[in-house]
Amino acid sequence: MSFSRKHLLGLENLEAKEIIEILNTAVPCKDIIKREIKKLPTLRGRSVVTLFFEPSTRTRISFELAAKRLGADTVSIAVNTSSVQKGENFVDTVKTIEALGADFIVLRHSVAGSPQLLAETVNCRVINAGDGAHEHPTQALLDLFTLRERCGEIAGLNVVIVGDIMHSRVAKSNIYGLLKLGAKVTVVGPPTLLPPGIEELGVRVMTNLDAALEEANVVNVLRIQKERQQKGLFPSLREYTRLYGLTKERLAGAPQDLIIMHPGPANLGVEISEEVATDPRSVISTQVTNGVAVRMALLYLMSGGENGDDLFN
């Protein structure tokens, strides 16, 4: 089987077997990263454009490294959001980029649905690198890869996602991916940060983190944005930390083999303490490494590769 999607806009519409194929292909990709000479000619002559309308260092660099290791040419375009507000037209911008000869556009945008608009506008392949509060499929894929690597099997895991579920594309893509692979998902946060109807996606909704952690195998801690507090969604970061911050004290009541994840960048001392982030149970830096492997696998499969066979050559 090969991965036959033209675009990757989200995990909602992928089938479990497609997700598994990407994860399987990421295994040899990770081996390549560990080699001394970390480069393959698979994407030689192709160009991958990372088009970021929102500042992000790690996701952009992760995509660029993934593309470079497969031999692609990469171009990185950071569009200042303020110039969009000044009237720079998205449709016009992306048509220009396509005309310059892009084979892939990797898009990060603050507005949900932009990757769909991009895919409807251009002929090249589109990868969603995070759109508003919609989806961030490659983050979820790397989280799934990390869990598979760590636990062998995702089916049956109890995964708690804690934090600003309302505004989180990471939560959304993780929910879709985890449920498709058979995990149980609980989302936890203050009522003002839990989006309406989230339970209809098939998750359990809780507001008490301690209770949720009791049976958890995995906790995925989301970044809390300071501007949410300014909008009145919770009273203070201090109180947020007291109720939902992952601290050593709070971990005392959780299973000893709990896996701790964070999509980064973390606000240390707010949603997660530094002590916990660097605890042996934390896989945060592994997640970053795995991000490159998963994105390599995706670029490889979307370029027409199969099963990763020639990745071993």
Partner: protein, 438 residues
């Protein structure tokens, strides 16, 4: 000098005159002068309306013509032609133009321009507050004297209840309705679609149903207290309906409209991020849509209005959150209503004429709504059974932002007469006789 016409063998639907069946009509000097069976006469142009409905022209009390100031979206010329095509013979012009219709000169401009370039009757609506900003009262007496038929700050609510209270009290000097867009913009914030499961899935910021409902509750209380005459624009939720029903039952002077899109489309339409589905108030979930349909059928809702809100292609062809709110409606309303309500057996033709012509005329206290002898000859000829697909290239309106594009409808207006003159004739109409500007 208008011609004299004899319209023969049409199926007349005129509930005000109590006529429902095959009748002939004679039109002379802009008026209906005779209605009867087997009429004859000399010197008239005879039109065979066999197999067609003849109905009083539709009246839309919620139209954004965008002129002056946003002629790239729509003009009085294009908007009134779109209206004529859709079967409307009278429309309002909402005041959120640039400059806004908060003063007599803009009202006069709209009236003059409509006479010169329009093809249907255009009734300007004046602002309630200066600039529609919700702070200071506009000069309501001036607006009425210039020809405003109603007051509205449509697009927004007057958030300061004290300002609205004074407006309602002062407004009692005039026998004009307040057309109210009910929305608490603090609750809407930067929301772009109905807040619910679909907005959560799409990651789009939601607008809670409450944003509409809290203002409706407040406005009903203010109207009850002051004795003002209010009309609620584009009701869209079940709870709004409940509040409206309760208030009506206890004697508040209130009427309400619903749009064809809120009656027939749910928030599921937003899946796929088509900006043509972005509208204020937003498309709601099925239970609200069903409640609106039920209220329409049982007669709680007074009338159907389109909230025709044209935008340019460039404005709508961008990221969902950045595209403006609004959809067009003049050219699809009748087809949608016939398809979803007449052909399904939910509404009779007489009820449809009540909802789209009789009642809007009553609310605005303007002529129309009937074709009895002596009435203005504002009429349309409708083919109930013609099946058609809504296509972007067929719109006369400058706005192509319709959520119905690609949908199949059954029933369509074929010809429109305003004051005894044909102002629209479809190529499918079975006769000749169009004069004036076409």
């Amino acid at each position: 000098m208008a011609m004299t016409y004899l319209i023969k063998h049409g199926f007349l639907v005129d509930p005000v005159a109590g006529r429902y069946g095959e009748y002939d009509l004679i039109i002379k000097e802009g008026k209906v002068i005779a209605v009867g069976k087997d009429l004859a006469g000399e010197g008239q142009e005879v039109i065979d309306a066999h197999n067609l409905l003849v109905m009083p022209g539709l009246i839309d009390l919620h139209v954004h013509l965008r002129e002056p100031g946003q002629e790239e979206k729509e003009t009085i010329a294009t908007g009134s032609r779109a209206a004529a095509k859709g079967g409307f013979t009278s429309i309002t012009a909402m005041p959120n133009t640039i400059p806004s219709a908060d003063n007599a000169s803009v009202i006069t401009f709209v009236k003059t321009k409509s006479k010169e370039e329009g093809v249907v009757r255009v009734y300007p609506v004046g602002n309630i507050t200066k600039g529609g900003a919700g702070q200071e009262l506009a000069e309501l007496a001036d607006l009425v004297e210039a020809g405003a038929v109603a007051f509205s700050d449509d697009g927004a609510s007057i958030l300061n209840a004290a300002v609205e209270r004074y407006a309602f009290q002062y407004g009692k000097l005039f026998n004009k309705p307040f057309l109210l867009h009910c929305e608490d913009k603090n609750l809407t914030a930067d929301g772009v679609m109905h807040e619910g499961t679909v907005s959560t899935k799409l990651g789009l910021k939601g607008i809670p149903a409450l944003a509409e409902e809290v203002i409706i509750a407040r406005d009903l209380l203010l109207a009850e207290e002051t004795g003002a005459w209010i009309h609620l624009c584009h009701l869209s939720t079940k709870r709004s309906l409940d509040l409206f029903k309760e208030a009506k039952a206890r004697g508040v002077q209130v009427t309400a409209e619903v749009t064809p899109h809120h009656l027939t489309l749910t928030d599921q339409e937003v899946l796929g991020y088509n900006p043509a589905t972005k509208v204020s108030p937003p498309l709601r979930p099925l239970h609200d849509v069903e409640a609106l349909q039920e209220a329409l059928i049982e007669g709680t809702i007074d009338l159907i209005a389109t909230d025709h809100a044209p935008h340019t292609r460039e404005e709508k062809h961008q990221e969902y959150s950045l595209a403006p709110f609004g959809m067009t409606g003049l050219e699809t309303a009748l087809g949608v209503v016939l398809t979803k309500f007449y052909h399904t057996g939910k509404l009779s033709l007489e009820r449809i004429v009540q909802l789209m012509s009789v009642k809007p005329a009553q609310v605005l206290k303007i002529p129309g709504g009937t074709l009895k002898e002596g009435s203005p000859a504002d009429l349309i000829m409708v083919d109930l059974n013609i099946e058609w697909e809504v296509r972007e290239e067929d719109f006369i309106s400058k706005g192509k932002n319709s959520p119905f594009i690609g949908k199949k409808l059954k029933g369509r207006n074929l010809a429109t007469m305003v004051e005894g003159k044909w102002v629209y004739k479809s190529p499918q109409a079975p006769f000749n006789g169009v004069e004036k500007k076409f």
